[in-house]
């Protein structure tokens, strides 16, 4: 570490002027069994392979991509549930990528996680009071005597009845359980919350309730969010900036409006055009669709050069040999493609 760091009372160090969170060329390779009967050759699943990402205080950044693109692994790396194979994860300028558990403790308090599945992420044998209270106790947030009242306060913040602190998770519906998970994350007063598909498991009407709750919390508490979802509408609604991932890499990243209106990477364009549009029935002319063929290649043996080239209609010889860098193509919009350009006509038809 070169710059001077100032330890805060909480034990969290910071470099003045550094962004809240910065990922630099982060890689996560998992060991996989080799193929064949002897399985001698070790293979590596390159789940995340060189991700750069910056989050400023209070900002929300959306991570989108299809299953297997590495977005959930990225969430686990940011929260340091996984130790990266390579690269730096800087929190307020301090690299936490390989920090020991003991030193990491205060950072864990400030970086919290909300899980996708509200059924498996709550211990069925603990009451809600214990679940949220444990988070308070672990991080020494309140004295023992004030624990219950703080739990009730948190339940009220997330829109649950504070009198229900002694109930068990099975007594709540899916949407209510997700609120419990949110209360648990808020208990530590985090500066950043990583939300991994927080509304995907919920019904449409409940999903909107939880989204409104998250949005109010963000506005009132100024918490930064890394918001992971596969639903492009949900991400657009919630995020200031959006990063699109494909096969372990960020292929395009930029401000929300730029990315949705003028996507420059072919994959982003294909992704947006594949979203079924309800506007068709309101008289919006049916959009011309880009249909991708085939499936995402295996992360064990990704294509050489640009990873999207096997499904890309713009692919030339250069794409197989040269790996395109993520470079700025428009203000604040970075694209990793040799032939990046905005679409000829808007992919998403404007509703009148």
């Amino acid at each position: 570490m070169t710059a001077a760091t100032t330890p805060a009372k909480s034990g969290v160090r910071s470099v003045p002027g550094a962004p809240l969170l910065e990922l630099q060329n982060v890689k996560m390779h998992f060991k996989a069994k080799g193929e064949g009967f002897l399985a001698r050759k070790t293979q590596w699943v390159q789940a995340v392979d060189g991700v750069d990402l910056t989050v400023q205080p209070g900002e929300t950044i959306g991570l989108v991509g299809e299953s297997g693109c590495g977005k959930s692994t990225t969430a686990r790396l940011i929260t340091r549930l996984l130790e990266p194979t390579a690269g730096e994860i800087r929190y307020q300028g301090v690299d936490i990528a390989h920090m020991s558990e003991r030193k990491l403790r205060p950072y864990r308090r400030e970086i919290q996680l909300i899980f996708q599945d509200p059924y498996s992420s709550l211990n069925p044998r603990h009451t809600v009071g214990t679940i949220v209270g444990t988070a308070l106790r672990t991080h020494g947030m309140v004295p023992k005597s004030g624990e219950l009242s703080r739990v009730q306060e948190l339940l009220e913040v997330v829109g649950l009845n504070p009198e229900h602190y002694n109930r068990y998770p099975h007594e709540f519906s899916g949407g209510q359980r997700q609120r419990i998970g949110i209360a648990r994350a808020l208990a530590a007063r985090p500066k950043i919350i990583v939300a991994d598909e927080p509304v995907s498991a919920l019904d449409v009407s409940i999903q909107a309730q939880v989204m409104n709750l998250l949005e109010n919390l963000r506005k009132e508490l100024g918490i930064a969010f890394v918001f992971i979802a596969h639903d492009l509408g949900v991400v657009r609604h919630f995020c200031d900036r959006v990063a699109v991932m494909y096969l372990g890499r960020v292929v395009e990243e930029g401000p929300r409006d730029a990315l949705y209106l003028k996507p420059q990477h072919p994959y982003t364009q294909a992704l947006l055009s594949a979203v079924p549009d309800i506007g068709v029935v309101r008289g919006v002319p049916p959009k011309n669709r880009i249909r991708l063929v085939g499936d995402v290649p295996s992360p064990v043996d990704p294509p050489s050069g640009c990873r999207f080239r096997t499904r890309c209609w713009k692919a030339q010889d250069i794409c197989a040999t040269d790996d395109p860098a993520l470079i700025e193509r428009a203000p604040a919009q970075r694209v990793a493609c040799h032939f990046a350009e905005p679409p000829a006509e808007s992919i998403l038809a404007e509703t009148a």
């Binding site: 009407s205 949705y260 029935v281 249909r291 991708l292």
Partner: protein, 362 residues
Amino acid sequence: MSDQTTGVPQTVSRVPRAAATGEEAYLEVTDLQVQFPTADGLVRAVQGLSYSVPLRRTLAIVGESGSGKSVSSMAVLGLHDRRVARITGSIKVGGREVVNMSDKDLEGFRGGDAAMIFQDPQSSLHPYFTVGNQIIESYRAHNNVSKRVAKARAIDMLGRVGIPNPSRRVDQYPHEFSGGMRQRAMIAMALVNDPKLLIADEPTTALDVTVQAQILDLIADLQRDFGSAVVFITHDLGVVAEIADDILVMYAGTAVEHGPVNKILGEPLHPYAWGLLESIPALTGEPQPLHPIPGSPPSLLAVPSGCPFHPRCEFKDRVPDDWCTTLRPDLIPRTADLGRTSRCHLKDPDKVFETEVLPRLP
């Protein structure tokens, strides 16, 4: 779909189908009730459901979990265990009554005249048998042919659903297929006997958007080729807008709105349908605050009296005499347009939608 490794995207736009008028219904459901007696009481999963689907048409059944959309469709294929489910009413498929059909007749009917595609291809394919084996079994159960003929048919079907290299793939196991390919294999299995009725229960929910788009195209193409009647169960209104001709919106075991897709999604008449539209964030325009339906769906053990939606409805105060809490509305036309029905007491719902709901849609 030719080769999956060279990416040549096709630019397609679906042609809207001409509205069929006065066609004879192939599937006709009349006053269907499905109930499950449990230790906690009687679960009224489906109450008085009626609809019909002619050949070459697609009906989308939309609703949240527990609204009865899957339970009612399983009843159409006679998939409920009669020892635990009480089914009354009538389900006619091609003129044949399915309710109380004997097990032997059901065997010939399922997989032959009517087939189903399930949500999760992972758990609907047997991991121990090759994909080809499972398709062959389905074909030979309904056709008296040799294994060799059935295998040729299986290869042909795999090719038709866009699986590359079908003669090699036919001998592979489900785990060797990707998620999208498994779903294609299941579609091939469902269609191997040219069913006249296809029920697709959330067939794309477990898939990624780009794969979902491929599968939706595939189902639309196959429907055109085979001329089947399709019942498409989903909770995604975007998918409905793309694939369906008609929509049935279900809530707490009953149909609350029914009609052509452009009417129901364009200018719905039921407050529940309004709430659904207001809960979906748009992909264009300035993001508006969402306006979700308060509360959660009722338990089917204790469906609210009167209109089942009244505890969550913001318009119930406009209906006189506590009708909403005491009187169950009928599914009837509420406006001059007789082609669509809705189950709500509210007066002039079309005007309420236009003046109050439409401006705040996301």
